[in-house]
């Protein structure tokens, strides 16, 4: 018979349609409106998984996201998802699910042997046993533990689905759509508030979904909310983090109820919601009671059994025992009985109560002052052991379902993240949210106001107050559900039933933590609730101990002999329920992780076959290989062209900062170690900038374009940092200086024309302007026109050759670049890339990123002549600290391989030693290249004794690769140390 446990009538399922699904290879049937859990129950499936540590058989324990036991793998291959609670997985046609943590099969599991050895697997077992020997951990213990204990398997393929991020602002965010949430949303909405109503379930209504008597009210509220244009309703959306300043995170499962997302659709959406006011109507979660074997399939929270009967029309069992410490749970007994499920006994831990009398009046057999002391049955409950709390032998009550209610705990996870500290409520035997510290209020069961009518009233008030706090007074008065509350007797805390024998009383079903483990933690000194949590892993599983967290705390309190409010519960942290990494990443994956910056000449580089490299965000041409060229060949060819003829290089990525104002000169004097206020207009000067701690921040040339107008260039890598550094000092340190700053990096393309034929090339390109040495000397700045486009010409050189940098508004970039290439064709011009540029600067001995690494001073880099003697500048005082003035600090030198054998390569990062086997490092190699002028490996290094070692023969060793190269220490300026070429 199909769906043998499906009740004949009732429920919110669509019986007209059959959904086919598979669980562990079995073909089963369910209906739209089912969760995987309710459909499994309908089919009589009780055993759905094995536990984490002991591999004990486990069934379905709850009907919601708090589920600790019924975790399954959903789907297959790239879409396989582990650890999905069957209780929240919405059934769809073709759904494929598999149990976890079992081998070779669910019913016959080899790992269950762990349970026999339980006495050897106590809390803290991993810490104690596997601490020594350390090497064993990685090779022996961890692989075994990983195989034996664990959850499901993640997909090994790339996630094929798309995710996205959404940002929303609202006046009032209502979390939860039960009676309180609906009333709150309605009240706030009718006051004119922009409302977001988020519900984790696929159906709106929360607890109302199990209350057919109130369904008309539920529908009326939803209809009214849907009429309000400013109310947005988000089903399948879990609000899972409450952050500072009323920013909340939520995950919307857009397509998880479908076999796969629709084409171009997203699977999940991560919402960042900025709310003026928040109403937390998250309801309450029923608690377990720790009694021996309380994890057997067939033991279930009472409210879950009721939900399965009422909402899903499935019978979680045929013969039930109810074990409770409160009156509310009697509703479960009454409901199950109405559904045709036999109630064998109601076991109440209290001496008496109003509900006991009521149940007896209705003909139920009630055992007050009693408790369930054990379960008979392994893979399924066969009977419950019931005994009086006053002593005496336990009797066996045959049953296949044991409904447990240890009372209700408000779902205050979000409230406590605000972080309002939960407060103990003795009357309700639970923690309730503390005084709000953010713009939020809890409503209904989420703050201990139980019952449909009471919760709705509370929610209505909260919604109205939230709207008012957001500045929207008034609103309609809505009809609230009427409910005659049954005369209720107070709950009496019942946390644990003491075991007589071997049975395990679990406080955390998912992590297999027992009440005994908590006591062990206390005995061993882990008595703080946070320590006990970590020692036992209680509450650290994916369900975060939602059903047993408080029970564990209570067991700890009893062991400490203290009141539970003094023990407290561990801090709740985001995320309230697990969230996929995909949703957090959103669209920012792969190529979209960060933006790409392209030079205005990018298209030309691509068309001309440049090999591109990402440097920071920039894509830059490394070199332009010709047909058949590989390895160093194109780099050496390009560099040689610059040394012998002329080359053209895109340097648009250099940072450019426009500095203007009457005080621009004095401002730059304070930023740089050298002076710019004395620089004449039309001239450029090399400058060095320190951090206030005395280390070099950046270097570059600065040009004076007018009396009150400078243009600063920075290195590509430091452009953003230098601008921030300048803004900080202009705005906060010297606000009295009249100076304005603006980045113009993207507005100007810049290209270096370098080589002995650079002047001839540029002269041919620039119409009507004399570029002779007299007219535009080294470090001169001029304006001109190239092929009709305005240009600035800076006679600066990074290569060590006669060189110019030509800047033009970005839109003219390619036009000017082509014009220079055309003009240089007669002189043998070639474009050169980043590699040749690096080669040339190392030959010339210019410092760059590898040398200016944040740990070097101007003195270390041989730039001490740049430090002015008078006047203040950033870093001046701290650069004079004795430690930084120590002459033994490594300083910049050049190194050259003695051999011209390029196979004996010099490597950046190599250590410099005085003999190959010497272990004392004298310094390290910062930059290396093959030299076109010296025809061997050369480099720059930071060396103890620095330039005083000129002429010494030392060794560059790279032990990781067994490389030893004999080198000579030289000036950093391998090429043209007299600096004659740049002035040619």
């Amino acid at each position: 018979m199909s769906q043998p446990h499906r009740l004949a009538t009732g429920g919110r399922i669509d019986r007209s349609r059959i959904l086919l699904f598979r669980f562990d290879g079995r073909n089963l049937q369910g209906h739209p409106g089912d969760t995987l859990a309710s459909a499994l129950i309908a089919n009589g499936v009780r055993l759905v998984g094995r536990s984490f540590k002991y591999h004990r058989p486990r069934g379905i324990f709850t009907a919601g996201p708090e589920e600790p036991s019924a975790l399954v793998e959903l789907r297959s291959d790239a879409r396989r998802e582990p650890n999905v609670p069957a209780t929240v997985a919405e059934l769809f046609d073709g759904l494929e699910a598999a149990s976890q943590n079992r081998w070779p099969s669910l019913a016959w599991d080899v790992g269950a042997i762990n349970a026999r050895f339980a006495r050897f697997l106590p809390a803290g077992f991993y810490y104690k046993t596997f601490m020594w020997p350390a090497a064993f951990w990685e090779r022996v213990y961890e692989p075994i533990i990983r195989r034996a204990a664990g959850l499901g398997r993640a997909a090994r393929q790339r996630d094929p689905d798309a995710y996205e991020h959404m940002h929303a602002h609202c006046d009032v965010l209502v979390v939860g759509s039960g009676a309180a949430g609906l009333a709150a949303a309605r009240a706030a909405g009718s006051a004119g508030a922009r409302v977001i109503l988020a519900e984790q379930d696929f159906e709106l209504g929360g607890g109302l979904l199990s209350e057919p008597a109130h369904d008309d009210w539920r529908k009326a509220q939803l209809a009214a909310l849907r009429e309000m244009p400013e109310v947005r309703i988000l089903p399948r959306t879990t609000v899972l983090g409450y952050y500072d300043h009323n920013v909340l995170g939520a995950a919307e499962r857009v397509s998880d109820h479908l076999p796969a997302p629709p084409p171009h659709g997203v699977r999940q959406r991560f919402w960042t919601i900025r709310a003026k006011q928040v109403v937390l109507a998250t309801g309450a979660i029923e608690r377990l009671i720790a009694f021996p074997d309380n994890d057997r399939p067939g033991v279930m929270l009472a409210s879950a059994a009721r939900t399965y009967a009422r909402r899903f029309a499935v019978a979680a069992g045929r013969r039930a025992v109810l074990f409770t410490n409160n009156d509310e749970a009697y509703q479960t007994a009454f409901t199950l009985a109405e559904s045709g499920i036999g109630i064998e006994r109601i076991v109440d831990s209290r001496e008496t109560s109003a509900a006991v009398e009521e149940a007896r009046r209705r003909g139920f057999e009630v055992l007050p002052a009693s408790e369930v002391s054990g379960i008979i049955g392994g893979k399924s409950v066969e009977a419950a052991l019931v005994r009086s709390r006053h002593g005496g032998a336990a009797r066996t009550v045959v049953a296949d379902l044991v409904c447990v209610s240890g009372g209700w705990s408000p779902a205050l996870h979000l409230a406590s993240q605000t972080p309002a500290k939960p407060v103990w409520n003795e009357k309700l035997a639970c923690f309730v949210p503390g005084t709000p510290v953010q713009a939020e209020r809890s409503a209904g069961a989420a703050r201990g106001v139980f019952g449909i009518g009471e919760a709705a009233r509370d929610g209505h008030e909260a919604g109205r107050a939230a709207a008012a706090a957001a500045g929207l007074e008034g609103g309609a008065t809505i009809a609230l559900p009427t409910e005659v509350p049954p005369a209720a007797t107070a709950i009496e805390a019942c946390w644990e039933v003491k075991a007589d024998g071997e049975g395990k009383s679990f406080v955390d079903l998912q992590h297999d933590v027992t009440a005994g483990d908590i006591r062990l933690a206390h005995r061993e000194g882990y008595s703080h609730v946070e320590h006990a949590k970590r020692y036992t892993t209680h509450g650290m599983a994916t369900d975060q101990g939602k059903t047993g967290g408080l029970v564990g705390a209570a067991v700890l309190a009893a062991a400490r002999g203290e009141a539970i409010e003094r023990v407290g519960v561990p801090t709740f942290r985001p995320y309230v329920t697990p969230v996929t990494i995909g949703a957090i990443a959103g669209r920012e994956t792969g190529r979209h992780l960060k933006p790409v910056r392209r030079s205005p000449l990018h298209a030309w580089h691509v068309r001309n076959g440049a090999v591109l490299l990402e440097t920071g965000l920039w894509l830059r041409p490394l070199y332009y290989p010709r047909t058949g060229e590989a390895g160093w060949t194109p780099i050496l060819r390009e560099a040689r062209a610059v040394r012998q003829a002329v080359g053209l290089c895109d340097v648009s990525t250099l940072g450019k900062i426009d500095v203007q104002g009457p005080d621009a000169g004095p401002f730059l004097d304070r930023l740089y170690t050298n002076t710019f206020s004395t620089l004449p207009a039309g001239r450029a000067r090399y400058g060095v900038m320190l951090r206030e701690d005395g280390m070099v921040l950046d270097d570059g040339t600065t040009s004076r374009l007018g009396e009150q107008h400078y243009l600063v260039t920075t290195t590509t890598a430091k452009a953003a940092e230098v601008l921030e550094h300048m803004e900080f000092h202009a705005q906060t340190v010297w606000p009295g200086l009249d100076v304005q700053l603006c980045s113009v990096t993207d507005q100007w393309a810049q290209m270096a024309v370098a080589g002995p034929r650079a002047r001839q090339t540029l002269q041919a390109a620039v119409g009507g302007r004399d570029l002779s040495n007299a007219a535009l000397p080294f470090m001169g700045v001029a304006e001109g026109v190239i092929a009709g486009a305005p240009v600035r010409i800076f006679r600066v050189s990074f290569s060590g050759e006669l060189a110019y940098e030509v800047a033009t508004p970005a839109g003219y970039a390619e036009h000017v670049w082509e014009a220079i290439l055309a003009a240089g064709r007669a002189f043998g011009i070639v474009p050169y890339g980043l590699e040749a540029m690096g080669l040339l600067r190392i030959e010339k001995g210019h410092v760059a990123g590898p040398e200016i690494n944040g740990q070097t001073t101007a003195r270390d880099l041989g730039l001490h002549r740049m430090l002015k003697k008078t006047g203040d500048y950033i870093g001046r005082v701290n650069a004079g600290r004795p430690g930084l003035m120590d002459p033994s600090r490594p300083s910049l030198v050049g190194i050259r391989a003695l051999t011209d054998d390029f196979d004996k390569r010099l490597r950046g990062g190599a250590h410099v030693v005085s003999a190959p086997e010497d272990r004392h490092s004298l310094g390290w190699v910062t930059s290396v290249t093959r030299s076109v002028e010296l025809d061997r490996w050369i480099g720059l290094a930071m060396l103890e004794g620095g330039i005083d070692r000129r002429g010494q023969r030392l060794y560059a060793v790279f032990p990781l690769k067994d490389e030893v190269v004999e080198v000579e220490i030289t000036s950093p300026h391998h090429v043209d140390p007299e600096n004659a070429r740049v002035r040619a």
Binding site: D244, V247, V437, E692, E724, F728, Q731, V733, P735, V877
Partner: protein, 96 residues
């Protein structure tokens, strides 16, 4: 996520800002000596409670904003332009 009320732009998300440190330190005069500059760079009170800080609106107007923020609760009580004074940070801290 902090929401910072930029005096130039209005309320903006923390992601648009870059934290720039203690706004109560001032750069010593040029002749103040090594100890003063050492303290300026390295010595911070690191208060638990109210703290005046610089937040640089790098993803917006690029102005440095003075923010009076509680390092314990992350509450922001006041923001001001760089040249404006902030109400003196109160020594009060919120008890844990």
């Amino acid at each position: 996520m902090h929401q910072i009320d930029c005096p130039w732009c209005g309320v903006r998300d923390e992601a648009e800002f870059k934290y720039r440190g203690d706004a109560t330190v001032t750069r010593p005069a040029a002749g103040a000596g090594a100890d003063a500059f050492h303290d300026y760079v390295h010595t911070r009170a690191n208060p638990k409670g109210w703290h005046a800080e610089w937040w640089h609106h790098t993803g917006g107007c690029r102005q440095l904003v003075k923010v009076l923020r509680n390092t314990l609760t992350h509450e922001i009580r006041q923001t001001a332009r760089a040249a404006e004074p902030l109400a003196a940070p109160s020594p009060e801290t919120t008890p844990t």
